[in-house]
Amino acid sequence: MTPRARERAQGVVALLSGVLFGLGLAVAGMTRAEKVIGFLNFFRGWDPSLMFVMGGAIAVHALAWRLLQGRPSPLLSARFLVPTRRDLDVRLLLGAAIFGVGWGLGGFCPGPGIASLPTAAPTAIVFVLAMLAGSYATARLDPLVTRALKRS
C-alpha cells in the first residue's frame, strides 16, 4: 500500500470509529445527562446501568487488545501508540479529580458532549465550547507554570 493510500484508509477507519462511538454512546444512555448524574448518585436511588456501559466496552476492547498484542504492528500503521507509563503522580490524580467535578456538575464527559451537538441544545454547545477553552488554556499555560516552578 502506498503511504497516500494508507493515510486515506486510516482516515476512513477514524471516521467509521467515530460514527460507531457516537451511536454506542446514544444506545448506552450516555447522552442523557440526568442518567449520567443518576449513575454518579450512589447515595440516593443509584442507577447502575452505566456500569454496564463500561463493562461491555472493556470486555470487547480488552479481548481485542489481548489479540492485538500478538501482532508486531497495527494493520495500517507502523506501531501501536499507547501510553506505557505505569506510575501514579499528582498530576494524573489532580486532573482526574477536577474532571470528575465537571462531569458531576453537568452530566457530560467529552464524548457525549460532542455527540450531543446535533441536538443544537444550548447546554451541549456551551459545554463543548467551554471544554475546548479549558483544554486549550491549560495546554498553553502548562509550560509556563512548569518553567516558573523549575526556576523558583
Partner: protein, 140 residues
C-alpha cells in the same frame, strides 16, 4: 428474572464503544480517548490532524444518525447554562492535566490494565459522585 432494558441497552452500547476503540487501535494504532483526540486538534502538528478531525466528524455524524433514529436518547439535563459553562471548563482543564477522560482512561486504559487509568477512573468517578452528592443529585 427480568433484566432491566436499560442494562441491556447499556451493554449493547458499551459493546459498540469497545468495537470502535478496537478498530481505531487495531488498524490505526491509536487510543480512542476523546479528550486526547480533541487536544491534538487544539495544538495541531503536521500529519496528525486529518484522522483526528475525521474521528470527531464521525462522532458528530453518529450523534446525528442516533438523533434521527432515537430522539429520546438525548437530553441535556437540568443544569443552568452558567453551571454547564463551569462544568465544561473543569472537564477541559482536568482532562488535559490528567491526560484523559472516560473513554481514554475508563475504557481504553482499563482494557490494557493500566494502573494509571484505573487510578484516574476511580478518582473521577469518586469526585463526580461527591459533586452529585453535594449538589443534591442534579445541580440546577
Amino acid at each position: 428474572m427480568d433484566i432491566p432494558l436499560d442494562w441491556i441497552r447499556a451493554l449493547q452500547g458499551g459493546a459498540l464503544i469497545g468495537l470502535s476503540a478496537s478498530l481505531l487501535l487495531g488498524l490505526n494504532g491509536r487510543v480512542m480517548g476523546i479528550s486526547g483526540i480533541v487536544g491534538g486538534l487544539l495544538a495541531p502538528s503536521a500529519g496528525d490532524v486529518a484522522w483526528r478531525a475525521l474521528f470527531i466528524a464521525g462522532l458528530v455524524g453518529g450523534g446525528l444518525v442516533a438523533l434521527a433514529l432515537m430522539p429520546g436518547a438525548f437530553s441535556a439535563g437540568s443544569a443552568s447554562l452558567g453551571l454547564v459553562l463551569l462544568a465544561g471548563l473543569l472537564v477541559g482543564v482536568g482532562t488535559r492535566i490528567g491526560n484523559g477522560c472516560t473513554s481514554g482512561h475508563g475504557v481504553c486504559g482499563i482494557s490494557r490494565f493500566s494502573p494509571r487509568s484505573v487510578a484516574a477512573t476511580l478518582t473521577f468517578i469518586g469526585t463526580g459522585a461527591l459533586t452529585v452528592l453535594l449538589t443534591g443529585g442534579g445541580a440546577r
